[in-house]
């Protein structure tokens, strides 16, 4: 019981955190929000690995599982580390102390939407490679990505979208004899 009371001491150090709990994550300062997210990720990974290990340990002999030569040793270390890091990060969030030196502040004109579209186009390209083959999908990707990057010179895009895939194709398949991904169509 006395421990519980002792714990609550932390909350007095972080009244803004206490208030923030009611209003959700957005009310936390950005660096603490980041720490919280990282804590969740590391805690999740640590627990998942631990669960996996426990699950895998069923049916194995105890000599396989325990001891320094066990295949479980390194995953277990990773799990313990992850959980420990989760604890450290949570402590930092609650205490309101974050990184001593803050990371560079994000510039005001951050173009997240643009990056999102470009990321999506890369993923779609990754799928198309196996449908259209490397040559065609690369041509298509370069046209789309150039436009997404805000480049508007049609001749420049056309030249690049033909020259890059063709020269990569020649270099890999003809000169170096390396296979490129081939699709269903080409």
């Amino acid at each position: 019981m006395s421990r519980l009371i002792d714990r609550s001491r932390y909350w007095h150090f972080a009244p803004d955190f206490e208030a923030g709990l009611g209003r959700g994550l957005e009310s936390l300062a950005p660096d603490r929000r980041l720490d919280f997210i990282l804590a969740v990720v590391s805690g999740f990974l640590g627990l998942a690995v631990a669960l996996f290990l426990v699950n895998a340990a069923f049916g194995e002999s105890s000599t396989t599982i325990f001891g320094m030569r066990s295949p479980f040793l390194f995953p277990a270390i990773a799990a313990v580390l992850m959980c420990g890091i989760c604890g450290l990060l949570l402590r930092r969030v609650v205490k309101g102390r974050s990184t001593a030196l803050a990371e560079e502040a994000a510039p005001a004109d951050l173009q997240s939407a643009k990056a999102g579209w470009i990321g999506l186009s890369i993923l779609v390209y990754g799928v198309l490679v196996f449908v259209l083959g490397m040559l065609l999908s690369s041509m298509l990707f370069i046209v789309v990505a150039s436009l997404l990057f805000g480049y508007r010179n049609i001749w420049g895009i056309a030249a690049l979208s033909i020259m890059t895939p063709v020269s990569i194709y020649l270099l890999f398949e003809r000169l170096l004899n390396i296979l490129l991904p081939s699709g269903w169509i080409f």
């Binding site: 590391s42 309101g96 990184t99 001593a100 803050a102 990321g119 990754g126 890059t164 490129l180």
Partner: protein, 515 residues
């Protein structure tokens, strides 16, 4: 040693090897000079191309790229105040200040002078140190390697980035990725979830391409293009002999710092440039000149980052432990060529190893020529539009990642690496600890098991062998220092939190990239 070096020259001084090294150097300078294309990215994307040609051609090419890219980064740092790579961030301060006073040529030539000198001296150190160190390392047993790996791991988690906990998180992530696949000793499947492609573990090069190249492109897309004009005129005279002579002391000191830091695992060129810049400023008789176009400032920053290049190869070649992310990629390339770096390699293929050293020396002389050319012609390189550059780089990433193992699953790994790298950059988790932990963990696990097999499971083997004992004390010392530093930072942060709003700490790097 001299006969090995001569034999090395004889082995690798073929026209095609020299051409490959020169091509790598030119390509490296070009890529390094493009803001947003980092040195690690260049080596990672170009590495797969070399897997299919002979090691005597492929490795010199990559060494050229590495060296060229670190130098090339200083050109846009000086002309447009945008470091081409994070390693040149310190160069931008005085270099750009001097350029703004109309002395572009002087600034660029000073940076070239410092780069070449630092690189040359550091290469000599590499040549002198590597083989003797390897002959000591050959007597290392698995227990020594366990401690060496642990030492490297703690150093990396401790020093990468400002935030110890995030560095540790990154290293733990690397450890987690490293255990995926078939356990080599027991055949136990770890975290494969029935995916046969995962049995061999995560393929390194595709992952690195994703983490360094794809994520960088997304970050650059977010930040928008650097809008600025190239310097139109070279402006006045270049570096005179008298000036160069007066810069010798600061160059030598910065070279020493860069070489020492480079040889330690975990500290790359992007940290070294700041440390040697800071030391030069503190030791200078005219510190007020720093930031206003001081030649010593340019010299210190550039010598500090270029000296790292050969020095970082010392732990990589002698122990197989990469010093930073670029050498981590190079290590992957060595392994792909069936050259497992380590003390044995110096016995097995001394000619080849010394040949690589010879290439490093020769590329230095080339760097003077290509550097002078680059000064004349590469000032406008930032005018290449992002919209043309990045899509082409993405296509290269795909081609490279696929071709490593001819596997479509590697493309999935690359894309996942891109997402992971982007997430890590956005959350301020440093990437280098992950990469280096991923590379070191399998070696550590094997060495640990071998050691325990030898000692019948007893840990006393680490204290009964003298070299082990020395390494163990070093390890303990580094951990103690790390914890002490962590506590000090925590205390400082606590004091900051108590005291009224402090002005934000000036962040050193202008570029988002982590080399």
């Amino acid at each position: 040693m001299l006969e090995h070096l001569l034999a090395g020259f004889a082995t690798l001084m073929t026209p095609i090897t020299l051409a490959a090294a020169a091509l790598g150097l030119v390509g490296g300078i070009f890529v390094g000079a493009l803001p947003g294309l980092t040195a690690t990215m260049a080596v990672a994307v170009l590495a797969p191309f070399t897997f299919f040609i002979d090691a005597t051609i492929g490795i010199p090419f990559l060494l050229g790229v590495y060296k060229g890219a670190i130098y090339g980064g200083s050109i846009p740092a000086i002309t447009i105040n945008t470091p081409g790579t994070a390693a040149s961030a310190a160069t931008a301060i005085d270099g750009n200040a001097l350029a703004n006073r109309g002395r572009v040529r002087l600034a660029l030539e000073t940076s070239l002078f410092a780069s070449v000198l630092a690189d040359l001296l550091s290469t000599v150190v590499l040549i002198l140190v590597a083989a003797p160190l390897a002959s000591i390392a050959i007597s290392f047993g698995s227990s020594e390697f366990v401690l060496l790996y642990l030492f490297a791991l703690t150093l990396i988690a401790g020093v990468s980035g400002n935030d110890f906990v995030k560095g540790l998180l990154s290293a733990a992530g690397g450890l987690l990725l490293a255990v995926i696949g078939l356990d080599p000793m027991t055949g136990f499947q770890r975290f494969t979830f029935g995916v046969t492609d995962l049995l061999q573990g995560i393929s390194l090069v595709p992952l690195l391409i994703g983490m360094f190249a794809l994520s960088e492109i997304l970050i650059q897309a977010e930040n928008g293009a650097a809008k600025s004009q190239g310097m139109d005129r070279l402006g006045g005279r270049g570096l005179s002999w008298r000036q160069a002579r007066s810069l010798l002391p600061v160059s030598l000191r910065s070279t020493g710092i860069g070489t020492f830091l480079g040889a330690l695992p975990g500290l790359g060129a992007e940290i070294s440039c700041w440390i040697s810049y800071g030391v030069a400023k503190r030791r200078s008789r005219r510190p007020q000149q720093f930031g206003k176009g001081s030649l010593s400032g340019i010299c210190a920053a550039e010598a500090g980052n270029n000296a790292v290049v050969p020095a970082a190869l010392i732990p990589m070649m002698v122990f197989g432990i990469p010093g930073d992310t670029i050498t981590a990629v190079l290590l992957g390339a060595f392994m792909a060529h069936d050259l497992m770096p380590g003390p044995l390699l110096f016995e097995r293929a001394p000619d080849l190893m010394y040949g690589f050293f010879a290439i490093l020396l020769v590329t230095n002389i080339m760097l003077i020529a290509f550097g002078l050319l680059a000064i004349r012609h590469l000032r406008h390189i930032n005018r290449i539009p992002q919209g043309l550059l990045y899509p082409a780089v993405v296509v290269l990433c795909f081609a490279g990642a696929f071709s490593v193992n001819n596997s479509s699953f590697d493309l999935v790994i690359m894309l996942a690496g891109g997402v992971l790298g982007y997430g890590m950059r956005k959350t301020g988790v440093p990437i280098p600890p992950l990469v280096i932990a991923l590379l070191l963990a399998p070696g550590l696990e094997n060495a640990l098991r071998q050691t325990l097999l030898l000692s019948n499971g007893s840990l006393s083997i680490f204290v009964t062998r003298p070299i082990s004992l020395v390494l163990l004390s070093l390890l303990v010392l580094s951990i103690v220092v790390m914890i002490w530093r962590y506590v000090a930072i925590q205390r400082e942060a606590a004091q900051d939190a108590v005291s009224p709003q402090m002005p934000p700490a000036q962040t050193p790097s202008k570029v988002s990239s982590q080399e």
